[in-house]
Amino acid sequence: MATGPALSIARVSKAFATPEGGEVRALDDVSLDVTDGSFVVLLGPSGCGKTTLLRCIAGLETPDSGEILLRGERIDHVPVWKRRVNTVFQSYALFPHMTVAQNIAFGLQMDKVGKAEIERKVGESLEMVRLSGLGSRKPSQLSGGQQQRVALARALAKDPEVLLLDEPLSALDLKLRRGMQTELKRLQRETSITFVLVTHDQGEAMAMGDQVAVFDSGRIVQVGNPEEVYLRPRTAFVADFIGEANLVAAQRDSSSLTIEGLGAIDAATLANPEAVETGAVTVAIRPENISLAETADGAGVVADVTFVGGDIHVDVELGANRLNVRIPSHGAQPPRVGARVHPTFLPQSLRVLADS
């Protein structure tokens, strides 16, 4: 891992023409370094450009500008079939007229691997995804989860420098998806191949990624490990997209932060006191970091109470802001709708967010 990044994306942009004659910037000056042997997740809502980046790496799209380097060598003008990266497609894209074994063998035949070696590799790949014995089946005779494994085996059989996975779990039901998340992590660890996975599911990203790159409208807004992006979101978009967050309007001056109805907080005690933007700012606070105290002179009014099993969600109106508070359901009696409450929290759970 001292060898430098396995994959390096440098200032890549890509625009698409819309049917209306306009232009959409799917990728806007995107840069990203992927450490060798790591599991990187590209996370963002649909249409944010994450899949376009994946397709650019695979060679299925050509960037308008920028460079893509695989182990230090430029690949953005190398045709798809010559790149040492392989893709697991969202629809699996198995060849319906071939058996499972033939599907896996296809990529090896393209590399002119010998017959005996192909047979050995196919067996090995099937074993790796726990499908031994199903090699002679046609894809249509397999379940969705099994087809997914075949797609994985087919791509991994070629020992790619980087494995690209395009929303690989989105077609599976919830239970299967959980299992496959663990399975993908295991495969990545065992093969130590660099994985780049695209998803819109933040839970999936947190569960699997060593690094998570959060996309917003064609840009990467934050890269970090799951704890970092969850605990230290840089922008309102990241705070809101990953987990739940209250985005609260506040006033920041050089020494303090003022939230309407709650008074001033010493700026030095904030989660990120180094943020020196002054004036109107947005701060984020997670719902689980707020407690409520029922007092007659409380600054907030309870607008709604929802019981959701382990937690109770309480909606509190606080001046112009609305706070979403999560309190444990086994604790004290939840406040009634209309009651006056005072929200309390540790100042270090407040983060001042950057504009973009």
Partner: protein, 272 residues
């Protein structure tokens, strides 16, 4: 009729149309009207009486007669030659078209498809007259080759129909996956596109073959001397009289057509 769908109700009465007094009768009459001519042709082809409409006894002699006839043999060879060449060429063109159409821009595709599909609805007589006029103009001699050229032209849309239907059913990510695994355009065509299209290509070929084999109007216009195909020859025969020989020949054509349609049906059904 096996799948019982929701019965159609007659307005006002609430009765099922199936139970309406004359429904059964009309249905049978329609079937009779459709199939009686075919039954007659086949039945009388075994009639030993020279007068077609009077049954005398059972015989195979008309079949042996017909097959021994030099003119008929020549017409049959002409028909087969035309049909085979027209089928092969039109299927190759149609396969290329289907793949090309898929890659076209949406608006252009609709327009191109309209142009290619036009022969399906253009009155055949108009096409025949137009082709004749064109061939005379550019001095293409009438005969088997002229017929073959024309057949290629009108067989293309028929061959295209099943191929295109098949191509539409293929997930386009499959081609990307093949490229991703290291296949270049040619390998993708040979190992992915062609095998996936094969049932459609076979069905298209059989359809084109049938359409060409039993075409009369275009062939009649372009036949010229020595270019007589089987349908044209049969037409010549019945201008004199409907002989049991005509019936035998027609029955054989019918048998070939039914066989081919059945093969086509089985092929397209199995691969689904």
């Amino acid at each position: 009729m096996s799948a019982r769908t929701k019965p159609v109700r007659v307005k006002g009465t609430g009765e099922s149309l199936r139970d309406f007094p004359t429904f059964k009768l009309v249905s049978y009459l329609v079937l009779l009207f459709l199939y009686l001519p075919l039954v007659l042709v086949v039945a009388y082809s075994f009639n030993s009486n020279r007068v077609v409409t009077v049954w005398k006894g059972f015989t195979f002699s008309w079949y042996t007669n017909v097959l021994a006839n030099d003119d008929i043999q020549r017409a049959l060879m002409n028909s087969l030659r035309v049909a085979i060449v027209a089928t092969v060429v039109s299927v190759i063109i149609a396969t290329g078209l289907a793949i090309g159409l898929l890659r076209m821009h949406r608006a252009g595709r609709t327009f191109a498809w309209g142009l290619i599909g036009a022969p399906l609805i253009i009155p055949e007589i108009v096409f025949a007259i137009g082709t004749l006029a064109l061939f005379v103009q550019i001095r293409i001699p009438l005969g088997v080759n002229a017929i073959t050229l024309a057949h290629i032209a009108f067989c293309v849309p028929f061959a295209l129909l099943p191929i295109r239907a098949r191509l539409r059913g293929v997930d386009s990510a499959v081609y990307e996956a093949a490229a991703d695994l290291g296949a270049n355009e040619w390998v993708i065509f040979r190992r992915i596109t062609l095998p996936l299209l094969m049932p459609g290509i076979v069905a298209g070929a059989l359809l084109a073959f049938i359409i060409s084999l039993d075409d009369f109007i275009v062939s009649y216009f372009l036949a010229g001397p020595g270019g007589t195909t089987l349908p044209v020859y049969i037409f010549g025969m019945i201008r004199n009289a409907i002989t049991p020989g005509v019936n035998a020949l027609s029955s054989m054509l019918l048998a070939v057509s039914i066989l081919i349609v059945m093969i086509s049906y089985l092929l397209t059904r199995k691969k689904r």
